[in-house]
Amino acid sequence: MSTRPHIPDRLATLHPYRVTPTRMAFQINPLSAAILCFGSVMVASSAWSAGGPTVPSPLEVIVKWAPLLLAGFAFNIAISLLAMLLGTITGLWLGLALLSEIRIVAGVSWLVTQVFRNAPWLVLLFFVMFLVPFQVTIFKTTIPLPDWQKATIGFALPVMANVAEVVRGAVRSIPSTQWEAAESLSFTPRQTMWLIILPQCIKRMLPPWMNIYSLVAMSTVLASIVGVSEMLTLTAQVHAAEGGRPELFAPLYGFALLCFFLYCYPINLWTAHLERRFHVR
């Protein structure tokens, strides 16, 4: 019999760190929870108002104005999709420029990425709203730039910088053997990037890209500060149209919260699902 002391098979070492999104307890479905919260806000504000029978209750007000508010929400979504499209295309190129062999190109794109990543979204929005002219004249054709298009550009800037970082990170995470194998098969560097490296990156880029999208979707309400008539602006207008009763604020903004929650939460769940499936990070 050996007299070796018993060594525990697992030493107490820290486990690898990964941020996993919180999921609601299974018993409470998030949809019903959100509706429950919204309902309690309604009941509370109705109880608070306790107005005469002539004054419409908060629920009636919301039902009455829902088509307008939802149209505003659709506008928010449209802005977010456009900004994402624009930001992804430019961000892909910026990300590739970050990886460039030419030092000046890499340096300049690094600076651009850092500036747009570290500036607050609202500041960038102001930046575009105030410094981009309301119309551009190219070869005597005047292209008008309405507010919402400028806002879209304003949202696309931070998206561009974030997507660039995602692209850079994903390309860096591909083993260098892939590059060497491609080189030995006499692919040019450009072909290697587009035909071999980037297709492998898509899987890694998808979850963070979706995270960025959900951030953009939530940021579109900032456009109301600079005067684009999207959902939040319409909410304030509806409130004024209903006589500016103070107890209507909570249900109306609660309705906006509910809309965004119902849109962003599934995206978030799906992102977490993809992350688990791809085993990235």
Binding site: V19, L131, F249, F261
Partner: protein, 247 residues
């Protein structure tokens, strides 16, 4: 000081670039008070959100099912709704429903716009911190907690003295990101007229008509603020570094 003022004055006269904050004492004071407000907002919300994160993570890992569900609901709701709408909901929605108090013969709301901004932004960032801390706590091995229990630590004491110090070290990079994000989100307080940097600079450019110059100052200000925060967090990360982990 005088030299800087003269230089910017001269720059304005020779090139038309009007950096009024650097030579006009009135604009300078406004800018500095805005900067102070941004710093005040950032520091208070960072501290409060850390407390919310730590408390939430403790409850989330606890045995009470009600508390766990409540914290989960809080995190999920605050993570998936726009912070600006949260701010409006709190300030306009709850602010008007709250009772007001008598002060100096005037009826003033219980919480003013600055306090509401602090509450709302802390809750927003706190929801993210709960997840970050929870993930850090999950990285602490069961056996370490068991060892603490066998030494007679209560659950809360073990959490404060053993689990949290380890968890914080593990999750610092993620925390770093979130706090930078929080600093950037303080600009939203502009929407409820909290006189922070963006608000002050907007006032300056509407009066002095120098949008481009003030935009540059604004971007530079936030660039420097974020840079300082990142630098501080990196120093903290190095100081808290666990020997034998990472590089």
């Amino acid at each position: 000081m005088e030299a800087i003022r003269n230089w910017f004055q001269e720059l304005y006269e020779s090139t038309g670039l009007n950096f009024s904050v650097f030579y006009d004492a009135y604009d300078w004071n406004r800018y500095v008070s805005g900067l102070k407000m941004t710093l005040f907002l950032s520091v208070t919300t960072i501290l409060l959100s850390l407390v919310i994160g730590a408390a939430g993570a403790l409850l989330q890992g606890g045995s009470s099912k009600v508390a766990r569900t409540a914290v989960n609901a809080f995190v999920v709701v605050f993570r998936n709704t726009p912070p600006l709408v949260q701010l409006f909901f709190f300030y306009f929605g709850l602010g008007t429903l709250m009772p007001s108090i008598e002060s100096g013969g005037m009826r003033v709301p219980l919480l003013n716009n600055i306090q509401w901004a602090i509450v709302s932004l802390s809750l927003f960032a706190g929801a993210f911190n709960v997840e970050i801390f929870r993930s850090g706590i999950e990285a602490v091995p069961r056996t370490t907690v068991e060892a603490a229990e066998s030494l007679g630590y209560t659950r809360i004491k073990a959490y404060i003295h053993i689990v949290l110090p380890l968890a914080i070290r593990v999750c610092l990079p993620a925390l770093n990101n979130n706090l930078v994000n929080l600093l950037k989100t303080t600009t939203l307080a502009y929407a409820i007229a909290v006189p922070e940097t963006l608000y002050a600079i907007k006032q300056i450019w509407s009066e002095s008509q120098n949008v481009l110059e003030m935009m540059i100052v604004l971007l530079a200000t936030y660039g420097i603020l974020v840079g300082i925060l990142v630098w501080l967090m990196h120093r903290w990360e190095r100081a808290m570094h666990i020997p034998g982990y990472g590089r």
